[in-house]
Assembly symmetry: C2
Homo-oligomer: 489 residues x 2
């Protein structure tokens, strides 16, 4: 067996074990008995240790040295295996273990501090997490920029500076758009109660409408919506609230974007490093274009209004135009996960600048709350009223996810580029969406982006689909046009 | 770290990975999307390979040599680790792989042959399975008896000869009891349709009544009822048929016997080789005593009759005595899994003698069908009408499970012994069961047997609970008394 074949066979088992670990995560969030939590922790640690040992296995280094890839796809496989191998071997095992311990502890302390509105109770453990992650980042960077090294885990090939340049170009236009929209009268909010079983039936219909293959997946309820798995077993979750059916329905559409991407990857890449989405940012572009550009567009909103009338009867919204306005209602708020398209990216930029400063050592954890609140007042024109509405609202930093936040906004930027290209490629897109037919959109995304999986670097993945390099322009033009029309600006 | 501690730490991760593999099996039978089957096969193979490598790891041999157990429980841990290590290292890896391949293929061919009523189509692959299993048995036996070596996988410490002696003592009394019962008029069978949702609600109630802890388990539907997992995550399944509520309810009670056993093992043994049931036979004794001696006894039947009237209204059975008779209805039939208490063990004895002869080389696969049919006619007084009612009815041999069948009957024998001891220990047992209170029975079984897990050898496990060595007498006395009364013999 050639070194390349031996490496790929070894990697295939590693990928299969990774799928198993992911499925345990799904199990834990959906069907696991509550009393099994402690035992599950030991099970997860055992399979994580197996995966870590395989990723650092010295034979992988030897195979990588000796392997000659048979073609360009093989070369891309080696690129991904090498990245994971270097990632795993650069960080000392003792440091990885310490990070796992401290972040596990920190997550609990963060949850308690958030519940108690007590930033001070969280700071000591956050300080420890920051120090450990900076140490890890330094090991990964090997003399280079620490934050850039971290970003590679989520969006390979980009840098803090490159992201910063995009965000700097976006911020003034978004701040201005937000201010203009909020000066105008807001459309009506949804009112009343919506049967949760009917919500789940409609959610199932929406998943199918967006091309989700239930034969290779399933939809369940969970506390937090997520998509899990690759290849032939990609499961999604959503949640229901009797007063907020959009939460259930648009979480489903969002997760269908992620899951449909995984399901559409070329089966030839199954159980290989190329058999999944290209990056967090590209992944988010798929969930966002499904959810926002398509799902919250006027054409699809008209179709969905009809389905909601069938499911819930008269729910107090007079017609499809009013429904579209309600669906895109912008209102001042503190919470990122509840933010609309206009404000969402501003939440991300705030976090990006703060976490970059934390990692660079330019911001201490003791100054984090003040820095957050100052920046929030500047961008959102509001004073943060309590920590759970401010710097304690997200779990990410407690679990050591530095470099992850910007991929949410990059996903929106990519979605903007893709939507422009999609509209050009499918001239009757809106006519299709008015009938609840997403096949033009999902088919174009599958053919031009999703099927490639991780074959190309994230930036190249977007470029190949759009024909041009990604930039913030299309997203901003789209947002200004859409919300300008909705709010009569 | 001492050799013993190092070995136990290594083993703990192996046990955790074993739990994960088991949970994948549960997932496959309950919630897995149909289209995921092929990928799941690769995932299972990957984790099986990890488990096999750990069981054969040369360090385990070194640790076993150097380890000094701190106490008797530690000694029992070493006993179990040594058995698994020797089992794994005695069989050449190539032979294990070949058996996995051929049995996987054979299972499909068996299913097709059974559907087509075509024994000849199954024989070539069965011949191959038999040859491979004899080779494996010879490797395990290392000069000793091949069948005895196989039995150790399921019931350590016993032998074909010991089992044969028990079965020989049972057979004439069971054949005579069967003949006498079938000469008498049969009680009414259950008729009508029973709402399957109501069946599942009652199944859930029954699981709780028999002490199943839903906080560390869950009940789902599956094609075949089973119990899966150990420690804090032990899940059970049942199935529903609108015309046969007993299938759903008594499968639930049966699996609750298995699962309750796993849940009752001393938590100090969790994720160690002692943290599960002592053997297949002892396991079956727990499911059988719940299902038969308790669940189909007159006292509990009276309580269940009331619950069924509540759930289904008048279902055509006049009173609790008639219900008890229906519940214990004996009728001639070909299928082991549908057999009643009187006939079940006769089905096992037939298989035991045939598989022992196959493994000894005294019976060729070409003569299997004739041997089966002759024996069936002798013990059951009926000619087998088609292979799916005869030698093609069970999956076991196709997947290489030789030495497994006798543990079903051993479980019944053990249940007979335990029931005698239980009745002596809990004088008001029937008064409790009439109220639907199983706590006297389940409490006695937990304290005297279940909590020990695999701490003692199977035979010793039964002896410690009963105070005497296991024998077939109590079971036969119980059956003759119960069915003698029911059928007026």
């Amino acid at each position: 067996m050639s070194a390349f074949d031996a490496l790929m066979a070894f990697q295939r088992d590693t990928e299969a074990l990774g799928q198993i670990a992911g499925r345990l995560g799904w199990d834990q969030e959906t069907v696991m008995p509550r009393g099994a939590a402690a035992q599950r922790g030991e099970e997860m640690a055992a399979i994580d240790a197996v995966l870590h040992a395989r990723r650092c296995d010295p034979r992988v280094g030897e195979w990588l040295e000796a392997a000659s890839p048979p073609d360009a796809a093989g070369q891309a496989q080696l690129r991904e295996i090498r990245r994971a191998f270097e990632r795993a071997t650069k960080v000392p095992a003792a440091l990885s273990r310490r990070i796992a311990q401290v972040t596990s502890e920190a997550q609990g302390k963060w949850a308690a501090a958030r519940a108690d509105e007590n930033v001070a109770a969280f700071l000591p453990v956050l300080e420890e997490v920051v120090a450990l992650k900076r140490e890890e980042g330094a090991a990964l960077a090997a003399g280079g920029n620490v934050y850039d090294a971290m970003v590679q885990d989520y969006e390979p090939g980009t840098s803090g500076a490159a992201i910063g340049a995009i965000f700097d170009a976006m911020r003034p236009r978004l701040v201005a758009l937000r201010a203009a929209v909020l000066e105008r009268p807001a459309p009506a909010a949804l009112k009343g109660a919506f049967d949760t079983s009917a919500q789940m039936r409609l959610a199932r219909q929406l998943a199918r409408v967006f091309g989700y293959d239930m034969n290779r997946g399933r939809l369940d309820k969970a506390v937090h919506p997520f998509s899990s798995g690759s290849g032939a077993d990609v499961r999604i979750t959503t949640r229901t609230s009797p007063t907020d059916p959009f939460n259930c329905l648009y979480s489903t559409i969002h997760e269908t974007g992620h899951a449909g991407y995984e399901q559409a990857v070329d089966p030839a890449y199954a159980l290989t490093p190329l058999g999944c989405g290209a990056s967090m940012g590209v992944h988010e572009s798929q969930s966002r274009i499904y959810e926002n550009q398509i799902g919250r567009g006027r054409a699809f909103a008209g179709w969905l209004y009809g389905r909601m009338r069938e499911a819930f009867g008269d729910f107090g919204i007079a017609d499809a135009d009013a429904f579209h306005a309600t669906l895109n209602r912008v209102h001042a708020g503190f919470i990122r996960t509840e933010a609309d398209e206009v404000q969402y990216n501003l939440h991300i930029m705030l976090r990006f600048d703060l976490e970059r400063a934390l990692m660079a050592g330019d911001l201490g954890t003791n100054d984090l709350e003040a820095a957050w609140n100052d920046r929030f007042a500047a961008d959102f024109g509001q004073e943060v009223d309590r920590p759970s509405n401010g710097c304690l609202q997200d779990v990410h930093w407690s679990v050591g996810l530095f470099g992850y936040f910007p991929t949410y906004a990059l996903g929106n930027v990519y979605a903007g580029c893709l939507y422009r290209a999609l509209c050009a490629a499918v001239p009757d897109l809106d006519a299709q969406l008015e009938r609840g037919d997403t096949s033009g959109a999902t088919g174009w995304l599958r053919d031009n982006l999703q099927r490639h999986g991780r074959r190309y670097a994230p930036r190249e993945t977007i470029e190949r689909a759009c024909g041009t390099a990604p930039s913030e322009g299309p997203l901003l033009d789209y947002l200004e046009a859409k919300f300008g029309a909705l709010y009569g600006l």
